[in-house]
Every structure is written in structure tokens, then in C-alpha cells.
């Protein structure tokens, strides 16, 4: 992702969208929902790309973050914006329990994390005194008025989630640029080689897991205050894992912008185009599109866009930027 692209992205997201759609709750809400998926997708891609770990259980972090924040604001009067950070911290703490799974590989790791997500969900159901159990929590406080701006509105919520997503992107960018990132990439290529050179692979993986969990947890926390409702089935729903994965791979998970573009594209096209073409069962078109797309362009959406719009000689260069 180059500077120009980042700038264009920022202008569109921070200026064009708020000023054109700002008073249309429906559309701004859709973009915000897409950004929620986008944020998790970035966190997932960070773990997959830098940590070399494919997780099937990001819903665990999402749910833990959501419940941490909701309970802190409702029962302990913690301000919502502080609680968003606490949600992230809560999710990071929960990821400590997953550390033993770091020695697993590939699908074994993926499924172990899924098992954790499932376990956390059941614990949320059973810990009725804290979480309200299966009955869930209604009337979770909305995002507050801060410095004269009401973040409880649709537009306010949009700005908050946009900031969260941008912060995750910036964090991801700097980790990737840092020596950590280089070590991680080396590790991704050959763990053995990294060990020989003296980079502690496990330590790096732990850090990536904590960071990815933090990001996802704070997004879960945001969603709790945005939707104002939580129940275990919803907070730990597998769709918080699967859609971000699909979005990340679809957009191109090796790139920084891929997960975000993938999420925006899938969510908005599904809800705006497919749903109006086929009000019931538009998921059918979505599924077919995902399947077809991955066959036609296995590196995701970005190469297609670049191929389509960039002069031919630039293709090679564009692909070189990945990873």
C-alpha cells in the first residue's frame, strides 16, 4: 500500500463518505458494519501473515472484548471509550489461555482456537451472574458525547470504528516495517532458519497473538456499544470468524489494504446489490461469487482491480508489492 493510495483511502473514508452519506443512517450504518468486519479481517490477516497462524476462532476475542466492555460500563460505570480499550485488553488476556496452542500447526492450531471460542461462549452462557447468561444484555450504553460530538449517532459510530480500523492498519504497517516484522516474515518462510539465526519464534508468535486479540477485542467492544445488545450466541457467533477470513482472503490477505477492501466490497455488494436483486436468498449469489472469484483470482480482489485499472506494464510491479 503506497502513500497515494492511503491518502485516497483516507479522503474517501473520512471526507467523501461522511459528507455524502452522513445523514443517511442506512448507508452510513452499512459502511460501519462493513468496517467492523474489515477491522477483524485486518487483525486476522496480521496473525496469519506475520505470525503464520491461521485462526478459526477470532470470534473468541470479539466476544470476550464485547462482554468485557459491556460489563465494565454497565456494572462498574467505566466510561465507554475507556471500556473499548479494556475490551481489547480483556481479549488479550483471554489469548494468554491460548498460548499452549501456539505449538500446534496449520489446521491443528486453527481448530484449537475454534475450540477455545466455543469454550468461551459456553462459559459466557453459564456465568449468568456476570454476563446475564443466555438471556444476554440489552440496553448496553451507547457511545457517549465527547468533546461536544455525539458519538452515539450513526455517523459518530462510523467515525469511531473508522478510527479503530485505521489504528489497526497503522499498527500493522509499523509492525511489518519493524525489525520484528522482518523476523516474523523470515519465520513465516522458514521457522528453522529463524531459530538458527537466533530469533525467538515463540516469543514473536505470542506478541502477534496478543496484538491480534487486542484489535479484535476492541472491535467487539465497539460493536457491543454500537448495537447495544449482547448474547453469547451473537457475541461468539462463528460468523465473526468466518466473514473476516473470507473478506481477508477475498481482498488479498497478504496485503495491508486487501482485508479492508475485501470486507467493504463483500458486505456492501451483498447488501446493496445482491439483496436488491434477490431480496431472499441473496446469500446464494454471494456464495457463488466467492467461489467463482477465488478460482479466477486466487490472490484476491486487489490484483483484479489493479489489473483492470492499471496500465499493463504496471501489473508486475503491483504484484511485487504484496506480502
Amino acid at each position: 500500500m503506497n502513500i497515494k493510495f492511503s491518502a485516497a483511502f483516507a479522503i474517501v473514508m473520512y471526507l467523501v463518505i461522511p459528507f455524502t452519506l452522513g445523514d443517511n443512517n442506512y448507508l452510513i450504518g452499512l459502511v460501519a458494519s462493513a468496517l467492523i468486519i474489515a477491522g477483524i479481517a485486518v487483525a486476522w490477516a496480521l496473525l496469519g501473515n506475520l505470525g503464520g497462524m491461521v485462526s478459526f476462532g477470532h470470534a473468541a476475542f470479539f466476544g470476550v472484548g464485547a462482554y468485557t466492555s459491556a460489563v465494565l460500563t454497565m456494572d462498574h460505570g467505566v466510561p465507554v471509550f475507556v471500556a473499548l480499550v479494556m475490551g481489547g485488553i480483556g481479549a488479550s488476556i483471554s489469548s494468554i489461555f491460548m498460548m499452549p496452542a501456539l505449538r500446534l500447526r496449520g489446521p491443528y492450531f486453527a481448530l484449537a482456537i475454534l475450540a477455545y471460542a466455543e469454550i468461551f461462549k459456553i462459559l459466557a452462557v453459564e456465568a449468568t451472574s456476570i454476563t446475564g447468561g443466555a438471556g444476554g444484555l440489552l440496553s448496553i450504553p451507547t457511545l457517549p458525547v465527547f468533546m461536544g460530538i455525539d458519538f452515539g449517532t450513526k455517523l459518530g459510530g462510523y467515525i469511531v470504528i473508522l478510527n479503530i480500523v485505521c489504528l489497526t492498519l497503522i499498527t500493522y504497517h509499523f509492525i511489518r516495517k519493524s525489525t520484528y516484522g522482518l523476523a516474523l516474515k523470515a519465520m513465516h518462510d522458514s521457522e528453522m532458519a529463524t531459530r538458527i539465526v537466533g530469533v525467538p519464534a515463540t516469543y514473536l508468535k505470542i506478541v502477534m497473538l496478543l496484538v491480534s486479540a487486542f484489535m479484535t477485542g476492541s472491535i467487539g467492544a465497539f460493536n457491543a456499544h454500537y448495537i447495544n445488545f449482547l448474547e453469547p450466541d451473537y457475541a461468539f457467533s462463528g460468523s465473526w470468524t468466518i466473514f473476516p477470513i473470507v473478506a481477508a482472503i477475498f481482498g488479498g490477505y497478504r496485503t495491508l489494504s486487501g482485508p479492508v477492501l475485501g470486507a467493504l466490497f463483500i458486505y456492501l455488494v451483498d447488501q446493496l446489490v445482491f439483496k436488491s436483486v434477490m431480496p431472499q436468498g441473496h446469500q446464494l449469489i454471494l456464495g457463488a461469487m466467492l467461489a467463482g472469484m477465488i478460482i479466477l483470482s486466487p490472490s484476491g480482489l486487489l490484483p483484479i482491480l489493479t489489473k483492470f485499472f492499471a496500465p499493463k506494464k504496471n501489473i508486475k510491479k503491483a504484484e511485487g508489492q504484496h506480502a
Binding site: R103, P107, Y108, E126, L284, G287
Partner: protein
């Protein structure tokens, strides 16, 4: 005591059935390293075919097997064909592909059959089988268990004693070596998908006679099958059986001694513990990725 005996018995029966559901996924996973996220939907597709035939023509669900198999094999081979089109990053990209196909199938079934619940009309399947006056099961559950064990046994034999089976095994243990030995890995993979289709069809018809079907069931079957496959260790058939029975028994015992809503917690915890002690699953080869 009676409670425990019944819980163990139920767990055993469920285990046989779970094994049947999981083994198709495990086979494909073993040969092609592809996780077929639409596997549960293929099982469900067979169940709906049994339903359609029974409700339209009164056909006994067991007799709908050939048709269910034909359809599901075709569906499985189409999935294979599409998966095979992915040349890059196949392990990951096939997730999107099969997830997408799963969505298509689930929503297709929803549109054709609505969200209503169905199960076999024939009460013959629901008649009780009582062993030693204290172990209860429905006829259909016994049948599903026997079919499950037979299918797993048959598959095990086929993989070890037939040419195609051995080809699959050699491709799954070392694709490049198999290629050098003059085998066509694609052909072996094709076979494994076809056989997975047969197994999914069997599982689907058993699902229809023992349980209740509605569109969301497919997805939860996929997860269960996946858990068992990983627990078993990459593509190991005995592992699938042991893992499936383990899960079944743990669920039965948890329900009996604690409560049903904790059964999933117990089976997931055991699953994790097994993985942490044996990182390649129960029957996985050490160091295998």
C-alpha cells in the same frame, strides 16, 4: 449405574454416527489437504433427497440411497473440479471456495424446501431396540451405528487392499514421491472425493432417519466433522473412529452427570487437551504438518 451404562451406550452409538459424518471430510483432507467446508451441506443434501423421495413417492429412505449417492457424488466431484482449478495457495483459498459452495447449497435447500423441519415419516425407524432390558436405542440409531462402522471398516480395507485405495494413501503421505512412482495424484484425489461423496450420502440418509433436518444443520455438521478429523490425526481412519466415539461418550457422560448444555464444553476441552499432548492428533504421524 443404569444411567452410566445408557450414557456409554448412547455415546458409542453417536460415535459410530459421528464417525460416518466425519470420515468423508477426513479422507479428502488426508489426500488433498483441503478442508471441505461444504461437507456438512453435502450430507444434508443427501438427507433432503431422502426426504423429497419419501414425501413425494413414499419411498423407504433406505431405498433412496442410490439416488442420494448419485447426486452427492456429482456434487462432490463438482466441488473437486472447482477446487482443482485453484492453483495458488490452495489450502487457504479452498476454504473460501468450499465456504461459498456451502452457502449456495444451504440457501438453495432453504429455497427449495423452506425452513421447516423434516424427519422420516416411517415410525418403523423409531421403534425401540432394548438390550439386556436396560440399554435403549431407536432402530434407526442402531442402523446408523452399524452403517457407520461398516463404512469405516470398508474404507479402511479399501485404502489398504485395493489399487485405488493404495494410490490414495501414497498420494496423501507423499504427493511428489507418488508422482515419481508413476501415479497420477489428480486421479487419486478424484477417487477420494468420489468416495467422500458416497460416505456423505450414507451419512445424510442416516441423518434423515435418526434425526431432524433443517437448513442450518449442515454447517454444524461440518464443524463436528472437522473437530473429529483433527482429533483423529491427518486422514487416519481408525483415528476418526476412536475420536468420534470419544466425543460421543464424553457428551453422553457429561449430560448424565452434569447437564446437557455442558456437553460441548467437555468435548471441546478434551479435544484441546488431546491436541496439546499430541499435537498431530490421536493417530497422526509425529512431525507431520
Amino acid at each position: 449405574m443404569e444411567l452410566t451404562a445408557q450414557a456409554l451406550f448412547t455415546g458409542l452409538l453417536m460415535g459410530g454416527f459421528y464417525g460416518l459424518i466425519a470420515v468423508g471430510l477426513a479422507l479428502v483432507f488426508g489426500t488433498m489437504k483441503v478442508i471441505n467446508l461444504a461437507h456438512g451441506e453435502l450430507v444434508l443434501l443427501a438427507a433432503y433427497i431422502a426426504y423429497a423421495l419419501e414425501s413425494q413417492t413414499g419411498l423407504n429412505p433406505m431405498l433412496s440411497l442410490p439416488i442420494a449417492m448419485a447426486v452427492v457424488i456429482v456434487a462432490a466431484l463438482v466441488t473437486f473440479y472447482l477446487t482443482n482449478q485453484i492453483k495458488k495457495d490452495r489450502e487457504l483459498n479452498s476454504l473460501i471456495l468450499t465456504f461459498g459452495l456451502g452457502i449456495v447449497l444451504t440457501n438453495g435447500l432453504l429455497m427449495v424446501f423452506s425452513a421447516d423441519i423434516y424427519s422420516t415419516q416411517s415410525s418403523w425407524f423409531m421403534e425401540g431396540v432394548v438390550i439386556a432390558d436396560s440399554l435403549f436405542s431407536m432402530r434407526s440409531e442402531m442402523i446408523a451405528f452399524i452403517v457407520g462402522i461398516a463404512a469405516l471398516g470398508g474404507l479402511y480395507w479399501w485404502l489398504n487392499h485395493t489399487w485405488h485405495g493404495r494410490a490414495i494413501r501414497s498420494v496423501s503421505s507423499n504427493r511428489d514421491a507418488a508422482k515419481l512412482m508413476g501415479m497420477n495424484p489428480t486421479k487419486a484425489e478424484l477417487w477420494s472425493w468420489g468416495v467422500a461423496g458416497v460416505l456423505a450420502a450414507l451419512a445424510g440418509v442416516m441423518l434423515y432417519v435418526t434425526s431432524v433436518i433443517h437448513p442450518p444443520v449442515g454447517h454444524s455438521l461440518t464443524i463436528k466433522a472437522f473437530v473429529i478429523t483433527v482429533l483423529a490425526g491427518m486422514g487416519s481412519i481408525p483415528g476418526v473412529l476412536v475420536g468420534a466415539i470419544m466425543i460421543g461418550v464424553i457428551e453422553g457422560l457429561t449430560t448424565t452427570y452434569f447437564q446437557s448444555s455442558l456437553a460441548e464444553l467437555a468435548s471441546m476441552t478434551v479435544f484441546l487437551l488431546v491436541l496439546l499432548v499430541m499435537p498431530s492428533g490421536l493417530f497422526g504421524k509425529k512431525g507431520a504438518h
